[in-house]
Symmetry: C2
Subunit: 308 residues, 2 copies
Protein backbone atom coordinates (compact mmCIF):
# COMPACT_ATOMS: atom_id res chain seq x y z
CA UNK A 1 0.00 0.00 0.00
CA UNK A 2 1.24 3.44 -0.96
CA UNK A 3 -1.69 5.58 0.11
CA UNK A 4 -1.83 9.26 -0.77
CA UNK A 5 -4.65 11.10 0.90
CA UNK A 6 -5.64 13.58 -1.78
CA UNK A 7 -7.81 16.69 -1.37
CA UNK A 8 -9.39 17.90 -4.61
CA UNK A 9 -10.04 21.56 -3.83
CA UNK A 10 -12.63 22.89 -6.22
CA UNK A 11 -12.76 26.67 -6.27
CA UNK A 12 -15.95 28.57 -6.73
CA UNK A 13 -16.03 31.59 -9.03
CA UNK A 14 -13.43 34.34 -8.84
CA UNK A 15 -14.75 37.69 -9.96
CA UNK A 16 -12.67 40.03 -12.05
CA UNK A 17 -12.48 42.49 -9.16
CA UNK A 18 -11.19 39.97 -6.61
CA UNK A 19 -7.60 40.44 -5.48
CA UNK A 20 -4.94 37.73 -5.22
CA UNK A 21 -5.07 38.17 -1.45
CA UNK A 22 -8.78 37.44 -1.32
CA UNK A 23 -8.34 34.31 -3.43
CA UNK A 24 -5.41 33.09 -1.35
CA UNK A 25 -7.52 33.49 1.79
CA UNK A 26 -10.08 31.11 0.31
CA UNK A 27 -7.33 28.69 -0.68
CA UNK A 28 -5.89 28.80 2.83
CA UNK A 29 -9.28 28.01 4.32
CA UNK A 30 -9.47 24.90 2.15
CA UNK A 31 -5.93 23.94 3.04
CA UNK A 32 -6.78 24.08 6.73
CA UNK A 33 -9.76 21.85 6.09
CA UNK A 34 -7.53 19.46 4.13
CA UNK A 35 -5.06 19.40 6.99
CA UNK A 36 -7.85 18.57 9.42
CA UNK A 37 -8.70 15.62 7.18
CA UNK A 38 -5.09 14.44 7.05
CA UNK A 39 -4.46 15.21 3.38
CA UNK A 40 -1.01 14.52 1.94
CA UNK A 41 -1.69 16.59 -1.15
CA UNK A 42 -4.13 19.36 -2.07
CA UNK A 43 -4.94 20.05 -5.71
CA UNK A 44 -6.41 23.38 -6.84
CA UNK A 45 -7.64 24.15 -10.36
CA UNK A 46 -6.22 25.86 -13.44
CA UNK A 47 -5.60 29.62 -13.10
CA UNK A 48 -6.51 29.40 -9.44
CA UNK A 49 -5.43 32.92 -8.57
CA UNK A 50 -7.62 34.91 -10.94
CA UNK A 51 -10.85 34.92 -12.85
CA UNK A 52 -10.74 33.05 -16.16
CA UNK A 53 -9.47 36.16 -17.97
CA UNK A 54 -9.10 34.62 -21.48
CA UNK A 55 -12.76 35.44 -21.90
CA UNK A 56 -11.82 39.13 -22.07
CA UNK A 57 -10.11 40.79 -25.00
CA UNK A 58 -7.64 43.61 -24.53
CA UNK A 59 -4.53 44.82 -26.32
CA UNK A 60 -3.32 46.83 -23.34
CA UNK A 61 -0.06 45.33 -22.11
CA UNK A 62 -0.50 46.41 -18.48
CA UNK A 63 -4.04 45.12 -18.46
CA UNK A 64 -2.82 41.79 -19.80
CA UNK A 65 0.08 41.46 -17.42
CA UNK A 66 -2.01 42.13 -14.31
CA UNK A 67 -3.24 38.53 -14.66
CA UNK A 68 0.26 37.05 -14.68
CA UNK A 69 2.76 36.04 -11.97
CA UNK A 70 6.42 36.95 -12.48
CA UNK A 71 7.67 34.77 -9.63
CA UNK A 72 6.39 31.79 -7.72
CA UNK A 73 6.08 31.95 -4.82
CA UNK A 74 5.50 35.69 -4.76
CA UNK A 75 4.15 38.02 -2.12
CA UNK A 76 0.46 37.16 -2.36
CA UNK A 77 1.01 33.39 -2.63
CA UNK A 78 3.72 33.07 0.05
CA UNK A 79 1.16 32.21 2.79
CA UNK A 80 0.12 29.14 0.78
CA UNK A 81 3.66 27.80 0.71
CA UNK A 82 4.11 28.59 4.41
CA UNK A 83 0.95 26.84 5.52
CA UNK A 84 1.61 23.86 3.24
CA UNK A 85 5.07 23.44 4.74
CA UNK A 86 3.71 23.73 8.29
CA UNK A 87 1.00 21.20 7.47
CA UNK A 88 3.49 18.85 5.76
CA UNK A 89 1.18 18.87 2.77
CA UNK A 90 2.13 18.85 -0.90
CA UNK A 91 0.14 21.16 -3.16
CA UNK A 92 -0.56 21.88 -6.81
CA UNK A 93 -2.21 24.89 -8.38
CA UNK A 94 -2.37 26.68 -11.69
CA UNK A 95 -1.52 30.27 -12.58
CA UNK A 96 -0.65 32.50 -15.51
CA UNK A 97 3.13 32.62 -15.79
CA UNK A 98 5.14 35.55 -17.19
CA UNK A 99 8.78 34.60 -17.72
CA UNK A 100 11.71 37.01 -17.39
CA UNK A 101 11.89 36.92 -21.20
CA UNK A 102 8.28 38.08 -21.43
CA UNK A 103 6.83 34.73 -22.51
CA UNK A 104 3.39 33.83 -21.23
CA UNK A 105 2.26 30.33 -20.28
CA UNK A 106 -0.73 28.65 -18.63
CA UNK A 107 1.18 26.86 -15.90
CA UNK A 108 0.79 24.61 -12.89
CA UNK A 109 3.24 23.67 -10.20
CA UNK A 110 3.58 20.82 -7.75
CA UNK A 111 5.34 21.12 -4.39
CA UNK A 112 6.58 18.42 -2.07
CA UNK A 113 5.70 18.41 1.64
CA UNK A 114 8.38 20.96 2.44
CA UNK A 115 6.79 23.55 0.18
CA UNK A 116 9.56 23.22 -2.42
CA UNK A 117 8.44 23.31 -6.04
CA UNK A 118 9.37 19.93 -7.52
CA UNK A 119 7.43 20.09 -10.78
CA UNK A 120 6.29 22.66 -13.29
CA UNK A 121 4.01 22.03 -16.26
CA UNK A 122 3.00 24.43 -19.03
CA UNK A 123 -0.26 23.73 -20.84
CA UNK A 124 0.37 22.18 -24.24
CA UNK A 125 -3.14 22.03 -25.73
CA UNK A 126 -4.44 25.59 -25.78
CA UNK A 127 -8.09 25.64 -26.85
CA UNK A 128 -9.95 28.50 -28.40
CA UNK A 129 -8.59 31.10 -30.75
CA UNK A 130 -5.92 33.78 -31.08
CA UNK A 131 -7.99 36.67 -32.43
CA UNK A 132 -11.22 38.31 -31.35
CA UNK A 133 -14.06 36.18 -32.76
CA UNK A 134 -17.32 37.95 -33.54
CA UNK A 135 -19.13 34.64 -34.13
CA UNK A 136 -18.88 33.37 -30.57
CA UNK A 137 -21.28 33.91 -27.69
CA UNK A 138 -18.19 34.43 -25.52
CA UNK A 139 -14.47 34.64 -26.20
CA UNK A 140 -11.94 31.93 -25.42
CA UNK A 141 -8.66 33.66 -26.18
CA UNK A 142 -6.15 31.21 -24.74
CA UNK A 143 -4.20 31.13 -28.00
CA UNK A 144 -3.94 34.92 -27.73
CA UNK A 145 -2.80 35.14 -24.11
CA UNK A 146 -0.51 32.10 -23.97
CA UNK A 147 1.95 30.23 -26.09
CA UNK A 148 1.81 26.42 -26.05
CA UNK A 149 3.80 24.80 -23.28
CA UNK A 150 7.43 24.05 -24.06
CA UNK A 151 8.13 21.47 -21.38
CA UNK A 152 6.33 18.46 -22.83
CA UNK A 153 4.64 16.07 -20.40
CA UNK A 154 7.17 15.37 -17.66
CA UNK A 155 6.52 13.21 -14.61
CA UNK A 156 8.16 13.47 -11.22
CA UNK A 157 9.15 10.97 -8.57
CA UNK A 158 7.67 12.51 -5.44
CA UNK A 159 5.34 11.62 -2.57
CA UNK A 160 6.38 7.98 -2.91
CA UNK A 161 5.09 7.67 -6.46
CA UNK A 162 5.26 9.00 -9.99
CA UNK A 163 3.11 12.08 -10.56
CA UNK A 164 2.31 14.17 -13.60
CA UNK A 165 0.20 17.20 -14.45
CA UNK A 166 -1.88 18.53 -17.27
CA UNK A 167 -4.32 21.43 -17.59
CA UNK A 168 -7.95 21.71 -18.71
CA UNK A 169 -8.20 21.09 -22.46
CA UNK A 170 -5.17 18.77 -22.28
CA UNK A 171 -7.53 16.25 -20.70
CA UNK A 172 -9.48 15.82 -23.94
CA UNK A 173 -6.39 14.59 -25.80
CA UNK A 174 -5.42 10.95 -25.30
CA UNK A 175 -1.84 11.83 -26.21
CA UNK A 176 -1.60 13.73 -22.90
CA UNK A 177 -2.25 10.68 -20.74
CA UNK A 178 -0.25 8.36 -22.99
CA UNK A 179 2.87 10.50 -22.83
CA UNK A 180 2.76 10.27 -19.05
CA UNK A 181 1.63 6.63 -19.11
CA UNK A 182 4.75 5.74 -21.07
CA UNK A 183 6.73 7.16 -18.15
CA UNK A 184 4.82 5.05 -15.62
CA UNK A 185 2.63 7.80 -14.20
CA UNK A 186 0.57 6.78 -11.18
CA UNK A 187 -1.36 9.99 -10.54
CA UNK A 188 -2.19 12.88 -12.85
CA UNK A 189 -3.25 16.21 -11.38
CA UNK A 190 -5.33 18.48 -13.54
CA UNK A 191 -7.35 21.60 -13.10
CA UNK A 192 -9.79 23.25 -15.45
CA UNK A 193 -12.01 26.25 -16.19
CA UNK A 194 -14.71 25.01 -18.56
CA UNK A 195 -17.54 27.30 -19.67
CA UNK A 196 -20.94 25.73 -19.04
CA UNK A 197 -22.05 26.41 -22.59
CA UNK A 198 -20.22 25.69 -25.85
CA UNK A 199 -19.43 29.12 -27.32
CA UNK A 200 -20.00 27.74 -30.83
CA UNK A 201 -23.07 25.60 -30.10
CA UNK A 202 -25.25 27.05 -27.40
CA UNK A 203 -27.43 23.94 -27.21
CA UNK A 204 -24.48 22.17 -25.60
CA UNK A 205 -24.99 22.95 -21.94
CA UNK A 206 -23.53 21.96 -18.57
CA UNK A 207 -24.73 18.36 -18.36
CA UNK A 208 -23.17 17.51 -21.74
CA UNK A 209 -20.02 19.43 -20.79
CA UNK A 210 -19.62 17.49 -17.54
CA UNK A 211 -20.31 14.23 -19.40
CA UNK A 212 -17.46 15.01 -21.80
CA UNK A 213 -15.15 16.04 -18.97
CA UNK A 214 -15.75 12.81 -17.06
CA UNK A 215 -15.59 10.68 -20.20
CA UNK A 216 -12.11 11.78 -21.20
CA UNK A 217 -10.73 11.74 -17.68
CA UNK A 218 -12.11 8.29 -16.92
CA UNK A 219 -10.85 6.88 -20.23
CA UNK A 220 -7.42 8.43 -19.71
CA UNK A 221 -7.20 6.92 -16.23
CA UNK A 222 -8.30 3.45 -17.35
CA UNK A 223 -6.21 3.33 -20.52
CA UNK A 224 -3.05 4.18 -18.60
CA UNK A 225 -4.00 2.59 -15.29
CA UNK A 226 -3.43 5.78 -13.33
CA UNK A 227 -5.24 7.89 -10.77
CA UNK A 228 -6.52 11.21 -12.08
CA UNK A 229 -7.48 14.15 -9.87
CA UNK A 230 -9.57 16.53 -11.95
CA UNK A 231 -10.43 19.82 -10.26
CA UNK A 232 -12.75 22.59 -11.45
CA UNK A 233 -12.94 26.28 -11.01
CA UNK A 234 -16.71 26.49 -11.06
CA UNK A 235 -19.66 28.80 -10.81
CA UNK A 236 -20.55 32.16 -12.30
CA UNK A 237 -17.68 34.60 -12.87
CA UNK A 238 -19.07 38.05 -13.68
CA UNK A 239 -22.00 36.50 -15.51
CA UNK A 240 -20.00 33.72 -17.19
CA UNK A 241 -20.89 30.24 -15.86
CA UNK A 242 -18.29 27.48 -15.47
CA UNK A 243 -19.07 23.81 -14.84
CA UNK A 244 -18.15 22.07 -11.60
CA UNK A 245 -17.75 18.32 -11.76
CA UNK A 246 -14.52 17.89 -9.80
CA UNK A 247 -13.70 14.17 -9.60
CA UNK A 248 -11.09 11.76 -8.35
CA UNK A 249 -10.87 8.78 -10.72
CA UNK A 250 -9.21 5.46 -9.92
CA UNK A 251 -6.99 3.43 -12.27
CA UNK A 252 -10.03 1.38 -13.31
CA UNK A 253 -11.63 4.54 -14.68
CA UNK A 254 -14.22 4.80 -11.92
CA UNK A 255 -15.21 8.02 -10.15
CA UNK A 256 -14.51 7.51 -6.46
CA UNK A 257 -15.16 11.06 -5.24
CA UNK A 258 -16.99 14.03 -6.75
CA UNK A 259 -18.10 17.50 -5.74
CA UNK A 260 -21.78 18.37 -5.76
CA UNK A 261 -21.89 22.12 -6.20
CA UNK A 262 -20.16 25.03 -7.90
CA UNK A 263 -18.57 26.75 -4.91
CA UNK A 264 -15.39 26.26 -2.91
CA UNK A 265 -15.80 22.55 -2.11
CA UNK A 266 -13.35 19.85 -1.20
CA UNK A 267 -13.47 16.09 -1.60
CA UNK A 268 -10.80 13.87 -0.07
CA UNK A 269 -9.94 10.34 -1.07
CA UNK A 270 -7.27 7.88 0.07
CA UNK A 271 -5.61 6.86 -3.22
CA UNK A 272 -3.44 3.76 -3.13
CA UNK A 273 -0.79 4.14 -5.81
CA UNK A 274 -0.33 0.37 -5.77
CA UNK A 275 -3.80 0.10 -7.34
CA UNK A 276 -2.16 1.18 -10.59
CA UNK A 277 -0.06 -1.99 -10.78
CA UNK A 278 -2.65 -4.53 -11.96
CA UNK A 279 -3.66 -2.71 -15.13
CA UNK A 280 -0.09 -1.78 -15.96
CA UNK A 281 1.06 -5.39 -15.87
CA UNK A 282 -1.96 -7.02 -17.57
CA UNK A 283 -4.29 -5.51 -20.16
CA UNK A 284 -2.24 -2.29 -20.43
CA UNK A 285 1.22 -3.82 -20.31
CA UNK A 286 2.44 -1.51 -23.05
CA UNK A 287 5.62 -3.47 -23.74
CA UNK A 288 3.65 -6.58 -24.67
CA UNK A 289 0.69 -5.03 -26.44
CA UNK A 290 1.47 -1.69 -28.10
CA UNK A 291 2.35 -1.78 -31.83
CA UNK A 292 4.21 1.45 -32.50
CA UNK A 293 4.98 0.38 -36.08
CA UNK A 294 1.32 1.16 -36.82
CA UNK A 295 1.09 4.50 -34.98
CA UNK A 296 3.22 6.60 -37.32
CA UNK A 297 0.71 9.30 -38.23
CA UNK A 298 0.23 10.22 -34.58
CA UNK A 299 3.61 11.94 -34.49
CA UNK A 300 4.27 12.56 -38.19
CA UNK A 301 1.04 14.38 -39.04
CA UNK A 302 -0.64 17.18 -37.10
CA UNK A 303 -3.93 17.61 -38.92
CA UNK A 304 -6.24 15.37 -40.89
CA UNK A 305 -5.16 14.17 -44.33
CA UNK A 306 -8.13 12.73 -46.13
CA UNK A 307 -7.79 9.54 -48.20
CA UNK A 308 -7.69 9.98 -51.98
CA UNK B 1 -27.39 15.03 -44.37
CA UNK B 2 -25.54 11.85 -45.24
CA UNK B 3 -27.58 9.28 -43.38
CA UNK B 4 -26.41 5.68 -43.11
CA UNK B 5 -28.99 3.38 -41.61
CA UNK B 6 -26.81 1.00 -39.63
CA UNK B 7 -27.81 -2.38 -38.17
CA UNK B 8 -25.59 -3.53 -35.30
CA UNK B 9 -26.12 -7.30 -35.40
CA UNK B 10 -25.11 -8.76 -32.07
CA UNK B 11 -24.65 -12.52 -32.22
CA UNK B 12 -25.54 -14.80 -29.36
CA UNK B 13 -23.17 -17.59 -28.39
CA UNK B 14 -21.75 -20.00 -30.96
CA UNK B 15 -20.98 -23.38 -29.51
CA UNK B 16 -17.87 -25.28 -30.49
CA UNK B 17 -19.98 -27.90 -32.25
CA UNK B 18 -21.91 -25.43 -34.43
CA UNK B 19 -21.14 -25.51 -38.14
CA UNK B 20 -20.43 -22.52 -40.36
CA UNK B 21 -23.72 -23.25 -42.12
CA UNK B 22 -25.70 -23.01 -38.90
CA UNK B 23 -24.03 -19.71 -38.02
CA UNK B 24 -24.60 -18.29 -41.51
CA UNK B 25 -28.31 -19.19 -41.21
CA UNK B 26 -28.51 -17.05 -38.08
CA UNK B 27 -26.66 -14.24 -39.83
CA UNK B 28 -29.01 -14.42 -42.80
CA UNK B 29 -32.03 -14.18 -40.51
CA UNK B 30 -30.63 -10.96 -39.04
CA UNK B 31 -29.82 -9.63 -42.49
CA UNK B 32 -33.43 -10.16 -43.57
CA UNK B 33 -34.58 -8.27 -40.49
CA UNK B 34 -32.10 -5.49 -41.30
CA UNK B 35 -33.42 -5.34 -44.86
CA UNK B 36 -36.97 -5.04 -43.54
CA UNK B 37 -35.81 -2.07 -41.48
CA UNK B 38 -34.12 -0.44 -44.46
CA UNK B 39 -30.54 -0.84 -43.30
CA UNK B 40 -27.72 0.38 -45.54
CA UNK B 41 -25.09 -1.52 -43.58
CA UNK B 42 -25.10 -4.50 -41.25
CA UNK B 43 -22.25 -5.01 -38.79
CA UNK B 44 -21.55 -8.41 -37.21
CA UNK B 45 -18.96 -9.08 -34.49
CA UNK B 46 -15.38 -10.35 -34.36
CA UNK B 47 -14.90 -14.02 -35.33
CA UNK B 48 -18.55 -14.18 -36.32
CA UNK B 49 -18.35 -17.59 -37.94
CA UNK B 50 -17.08 -19.67 -35.03
CA UNK B 51 -16.96 -19.95 -31.30
CA UNK B 52 -14.27 -17.83 -29.63
CA UNK B 53 -11.71 -20.60 -30.08
CA UNK B 54 -8.66 -18.76 -28.58
CA UNK B 55 -9.95 -20.01 -25.24
CA UNK B 56 -8.87 -23.55 -26.27
CA UNK B 57 -5.31 -24.75 -26.46
CA UNK B 58 -4.17 -27.26 -29.05
CA UNK B 59 -0.99 -27.93 -30.97
CA UNK B 60 -2.75 -29.97 -33.63
CA UNK B 61 -2.45 -28.16 -36.96
CA UNK B 62 -5.67 -29.55 -38.42
CA UNK B 63 -7.57 -28.73 -35.25
CA UNK B 64 -6.23 -25.17 -35.41
CA UNK B 65 -6.96 -24.67 -39.07
CA UNK B 66 -10.57 -25.82 -38.83
CA UNK B 67 -11.32 -22.40 -37.30
CA UNK B 68 -9.82 -20.49 -40.23
CA UNK B 69 -11.10 -19.36 -43.64
CA UNK B 70 -8.79 -19.77 -46.63
CA UNK B 71 -10.97 -17.67 -48.95
CA UNK B 72 -13.60 -15.01 -48.56
CA UNK B 73 -16.25 -15.44 -49.72
CA UNK B 74 -16.11 -19.20 -49.52
CA UNK B 75 -18.77 -21.89 -49.83
CA UNK B 76 -20.43 -21.48 -46.43
CA UNK B 77 -20.40 -17.68 -46.49
CA UNK B 78 -21.47 -17.20 -50.13
CA UNK B 79 -25.17 -16.88 -49.16
CA UNK B 80 -24.32 -13.82 -47.05
CA UNK B 81 -22.74 -12.06 -50.00
CA UNK B 82 -25.64 -13.04 -52.26
CA UNK B 83 -28.33 -11.80 -49.91
CA UNK B 84 -26.42 -8.61 -49.13
CA UNK B 85 -26.13 -7.86 -52.85
CA UNK B 86 -29.81 -8.58 -53.42
CA UNK B 87 -30.72 -6.37 -50.48
CA UNK B 88 -28.33 -3.61 -51.65
CA UNK B 89 -26.84 -3.70 -48.17
CA UNK B 90 -23.20 -3.29 -47.21
CA UNK B 91 -21.89 -5.65 -44.54
CA UNK B 92 -18.96 -6.18 -42.20
CA UNK B 93 -17.99 -9.26 -40.22
CA UNK B 94 -14.97 -10.80 -38.61
CA UNK B 95 -13.35 -14.17 -39.18
CA UNK B 96 -10.09 -16.06 -38.68
CA UNK B 97 -8.04 -15.66 -41.84
CA UNK B 98 -5.50 -18.19 -43.13
CA UNK B 99 -3.42 -16.75 -45.95
CA UNK B 100 -2.01 -18.78 -48.85
CA UNK B 101 1.38 -18.40 -47.15
CA UNK B 102 0.01 -19.99 -43.98
CA UNK B 103 -0.16 -16.79 -41.95
CA UNK B 104 -3.03 -16.42 -39.51
CA UNK B 105 -4.83 -13.16 -38.72
CA UNK B 106 -7.90 -12.02 -36.79
CA UNK B 107 -9.59 -10.22 -39.67
CA UNK B 108 -12.69 -8.25 -40.62
CA UNK B 109 -13.98 -7.21 -43.98
CA UNK B 110 -16.29 -4.54 -45.27
CA UNK B 111 -18.33 -4.85 -48.45
CA UNK B 112 -20.10 -2.21 -50.46
CA UNK B 113 -23.75 -2.57 -51.49
CA UNK B 114 -22.84 -4.81 -54.43
CA UNK B 115 -21.32 -7.42 -52.13
CA UNK B 116 -17.78 -6.55 -53.25
CA UNK B 117 -15.17 -6.51 -50.52
CA UNK B 118 -13.85 -2.94 -50.35
CA UNK B 119 -11.93 -3.11 -47.09
CA UNK B 120 -9.96 -5.60 -45.05
CA UNK B 121 -8.55 -5.04 -41.57
CA UNK B 122 -6.32 -7.34 -39.52
CA UNK B 123 -6.39 -6.93 -35.74
CA UNK B 124 -3.32 -5.06 -34.52
CA UNK B 125 -3.73 -5.26 -30.73
CA UNK B 126 -3.85 -8.93 -29.84
CA UNK B 127 -4.65 -9.37 -26.16
CA UNK B 128 -3.82 -12.31 -23.97
CA UNK B 129 -0.80 -14.54 -24.23
CA UNK B 130 1.10 -16.81 -26.60
CA UNK B 131 1.66 -19.85 -24.36
CA UNK B 132 -0.61 -21.97 -22.20
CA UNK B 133 -1.00 -20.12 -18.88
CA UNK B 134 -1.67 -22.22 -15.80
CA UNK B 135 -2.44 -19.14 -13.67
CA UNK B 136 -5.57 -18.11 -15.54
CA UNK B 137 -9.14 -19.16 -14.89
CA UNK B 138 -9.49 -19.46 -18.69
CA UNK B 139 -7.11 -19.14 -21.61
CA UNK B 140 -6.92 -16.20 -23.98
CA UNK B 141 -4.48 -17.43 -26.60
CA UNK B 142 -4.85 -14.80 -29.29
CA UNK B 143 -1.12 -14.21 -29.40
CA UNK B 144 -0.73 -17.94 -30.05
CA UNK B 145 -3.30 -18.29 -32.82
CA UNK B 146 -2.73 -15.01 -34.66
CA UNK B 147 0.05 -12.68 -35.62
CA UNK B 148 -0.52 -8.93 -35.21
CA UNK B 149 -2.19 -7.29 -38.18
CA UNK B 150 0.14 -6.04 -40.89
CA UNK B 151 -2.19 -3.58 -42.61
CA UNK B 152 -2.17 -0.72 -40.11
CA UNK B 153 -5.40 1.24 -39.65
CA UNK B 154 -6.65 2.06 -43.13
CA UNK B 155 -9.90 3.88 -43.89
CA UNK B 156 -12.04 3.59 -47.00
CA UNK B 157 -14.18 5.97 -48.97
CA UNK B 158 -17.40 4.03 -49.31
CA UNK B 159 -21.13 4.39 -48.62
CA UNK B 160 -20.80 8.15 -49.09
CA UNK B 161 -18.37 8.56 -46.22
CA UNK B 162 -15.03 7.54 -44.74
CA UNK B 163 -15.19 4.27 -42.83
CA UNK B 164 -12.66 2.31 -40.79
CA UNK B 165 -12.54 -0.90 -38.78
CA UNK B 166 -10.92 -2.27 -35.69
CA UNK B 167 -11.43 -5.41 -33.63
CA UNK B 168 -12.16 -6.07 -29.95
CA UNK B 169 -9.10 -5.20 -27.86
CA UNK B 170 -8.11 -2.54 -30.41
CA UNK B 171 -10.93 -0.47 -28.93
CA UNK B 172 -9.10 -0.06 -25.62
CA UNK B 173 -6.15 1.70 -27.30
CA UNK B 174 -6.61 5.39 -28.12
CA UNK B 175 -3.98 5.04 -30.86
CA UNK B 176 -6.50 2.96 -32.82
CA UNK B 177 -9.08 5.71 -33.09
CA UNK B 178 -6.47 8.43 -33.53
CA UNK B 179 -4.84 6.71 -36.49
CA UNK B 180 -8.21 6.64 -38.23
CA UNK B 181 -9.15 10.09 -36.95
CA UNK B 182 -6.07 11.53 -38.64
CA UNK B 183 -7.49 10.16 -41.89
CA UNK B 184 -10.86 11.81 -41.31
CA UNK B 185 -12.80 8.70 -40.30
CA UNK B 186 -16.54 9.23 -39.92
CA UNK B 187 -17.60 5.77 -38.78
CA UNK B 188 -15.62 2.97 -37.15
CA UNK B 189 -16.99 -0.58 -37.22
CA UNK B 190 -15.81 -2.92 -34.53
CA UNK B 191 -16.76 -6.32 -33.21
CA UNK B 192 -15.67 -8.07 -30.06
CA UNK B 193 -15.72 -11.27 -27.99
CA UNK B 194 -15.10 -10.23 -24.39
CA UNK B 195 -15.19 -12.77 -21.56
CA UNK B 196 -17.56 -11.69 -18.80
CA UNK B 197 -14.91 -12.24 -16.14
CA UNK B 198 -11.30 -11.04 -16.09
CA UNK B 199 -9.20 -14.22 -16.32
CA UNK B 200 -6.60 -12.67 -14.02
CA UNK B 201 -8.97 -10.99 -11.54
CA UNK B 202 -12.17 -12.92 -11.05
CA UNK B 203 -13.76 -10.13 -9.02
CA UNK B 204 -13.98 -8.12 -12.25
CA UNK B 205 -17.33 -9.23 -13.65
CA UNK B 206 -19.67 -8.32 -16.49
CA UNK B 207 -20.90 -4.93 -15.28
CA UNK B 208 -17.33 -3.65 -14.92
CA UNK B 209 -16.40 -5.21 -18.27
CA UNK B 210 -19.28 -3.48 -20.05
CA UNK B 211 -18.41 -0.21 -18.31
CA UNK B 212 -14.86 -0.42 -19.67
CA UNK B 213 -16.09 -1.36 -23.14
CA UNK B 214 -18.44 1.61 -23.31
CA UNK B 215 -15.92 3.98 -21.75
CA UNK B 216 -13.24 3.41 -24.36
CA UNK B 217 -15.66 3.36 -27.29
CA UNK B 218 -17.42 6.54 -26.20
CA UNK B 219 -14.12 8.33 -25.58
CA UNK B 220 -12.73 7.20 -28.93
CA UNK B 221 -15.85 8.46 -30.71
CA UNK B 222 -15.84 11.84 -28.95
CA UNK B 223 -12.10 12.47 -29.20
CA UNK B 224 -12.15 11.89 -32.96
CA UNK B 225 -15.69 13.10 -33.64
CA UNK B 226 -16.71 9.86 -35.32
CA UNK B 227 -19.53 7.36 -35.16
CA UNK B 228 -18.57 4.00 -33.64
CA UNK B 229 -20.58 0.81 -34.12
CA UNK B 230 -19.46 -1.66 -31.46
CA UNK B 231 -20.92 -5.15 -31.79
CA UNK B 232 -20.66 -8.08 -29.39
CA UNK B 233 -20.65 -11.80 -29.72
CA UNK B 234 -22.38 -12.50 -26.42
CA UNK B 235 -23.72 -15.18 -24.15
CA UNK B 236 -22.42 -18.51 -22.90
CA UNK B 237 -20.24 -20.49 -25.32
CA UNK B 238 -19.76 -24.02 -23.96
CA UNK B 239 -19.77 -22.75 -20.40
CA UNK B 240 -17.71 -19.60 -21.13
CA UNK B 241 -19.73 -16.37 -20.74
CA UNK B 242 -19.18 -13.34 -22.98
CA UNK B 243 -20.56 -9.86 -22.33
CA UNK B 244 -23.15 -8.26 -24.59
CA UNK B 245 -23.31 -4.49 -24.58
CA UNK B 246 -23.54 -3.79 -28.31
CA UNK B 247 -23.78 -0.03 -28.84
CA UNK B 248 -23.93 2.60 -31.53
CA UNK B 249 -22.15 5.75 -30.34
CA UNK B 250 -22.48 9.18 -31.93
CA UNK B 251 -19.63 11.65 -32.57
CA UNK B 252 -20.45 13.36 -29.27
CA UNK B 253 -19.61 10.13 -27.44
CA UNK B 254 -23.22 9.33 -26.56
CA UNK B 255 -24.80 5.89 -26.80
CA UNK B 256 -27.75 6.22 -29.17
CA UNK B 257 -28.68 2.54 -29.47
CA UNK B 258 -27.85 -0.53 -27.35
CA UNK B 259 -28.82 -4.18 -27.14
CA UNK B 260 -30.46 -5.50 -24.00
CA UNK B 261 -29.64 -9.20 -23.97
CA UNK B 262 -26.96 -11.72 -24.85
CA UNK B 263 -28.57 -13.43 -27.83
CA UNK B 264 -28.87 -12.70 -31.55
CA UNK B 265 -30.22 -9.15 -31.29
CA UNK B 266 -30.18 -6.24 -33.67
CA UNK B 267 -30.38 -2.49 -33.10
CA UNK B 268 -30.72 -0.08 -35.98
CA UNK B 269 -29.88 3.61 -35.98
CA UNK B 270 -29.91 6.29 -38.68
CA UNK B 271 -26.39 7.74 -38.44
CA UNK B 272 -25.84 11.09 -40.14
CA UNK B 273 -22.19 11.24 -41.17
CA UNK B 274 -22.49 15.04 -41.30
CA UNK B 275 -22.81 14.96 -37.50
CA UNK B 276 -19.06 14.36 -37.41
CA UNK B 277 -18.31 17.78 -38.91
CA UNK B 278 -18.85 20.05 -35.90
CA UNK B 279 -16.34 18.35 -33.60
CA UNK B 280 -13.79 17.97 -36.38
CA UNK B 281 -13.80 21.69 -37.13
CA UNK B 282 -13.96 23.02 -33.56
CA UNK B 283 -12.64 21.42 -30.37
CA UNK B 284 -11.01 18.52 -32.26
CA UNK B 285 -9.65 20.47 -35.21
CA UNK B 286 -6.39 18.54 -35.12
CA UNK B 287 -4.52 20.94 -37.41
CA UNK B 288 -5.07 23.84 -35.00
CA UNK B 289 -4.73 22.05 -31.68
CA UNK B 290 -2.48 18.98 -31.80
CA UNK B 291 1.15 19.47 -30.73
CA UNK B 292 3.06 16.56 -32.25
CA UNK B 293 6.39 17.99 -31.10
CA UNK B 294 5.39 16.81 -27.61
CA UNK B 295 4.12 13.34 -28.56
CA UNK B 296 7.43 11.69 -29.44
CA UNK B 297 7.37 8.78 -26.99
CA UNK B 298 4.09 7.52 -28.44
CA UNK B 299 5.84 6.26 -31.54
CA UNK B 300 9.44 6.00 -30.36
CA UNK B 301 8.87 3.86 -27.29
CA UNK B 302 6.73 0.72 -26.98
CA UNK B 303 6.80 0.01 -23.26
CA UNK B 304 7.11 2.08 -20.12
CA UNK B 305 10.46 3.68 -19.29
CA UNK B 306 10.43 4.86 -15.70
CA UNK B 307 11.99 8.20 -14.77
CA UNK B 308 15.37 8.07 -13.02
Amino acid sequence: MRVLNVAAAQMGPIQKAESREEVVERMLAMMREARAQGADLIVYPELTLTTFFPRYYTTDKAEIEQWFERDMPNEPTRPLFDLARDARMAMSFGYAELTPEGRRFNTSILTDKTGAIVGKYRKVHLPGHSDYDTERSHQHLEKYYFEPGDLGFPVWRTLGGILGMCICNDRRWPETYRMMGLQGVEMILLGYNTPSVNAQKNAEGPSKRIFHSNLVVQAGAYQNSTWVVSVAKAGVEDGHPLIGGTVIVNPDGEIVAATEGEGDEMVVHACDLDDTAFGKKTIFDFARHRRIEHYGLITSQTGVVLPP
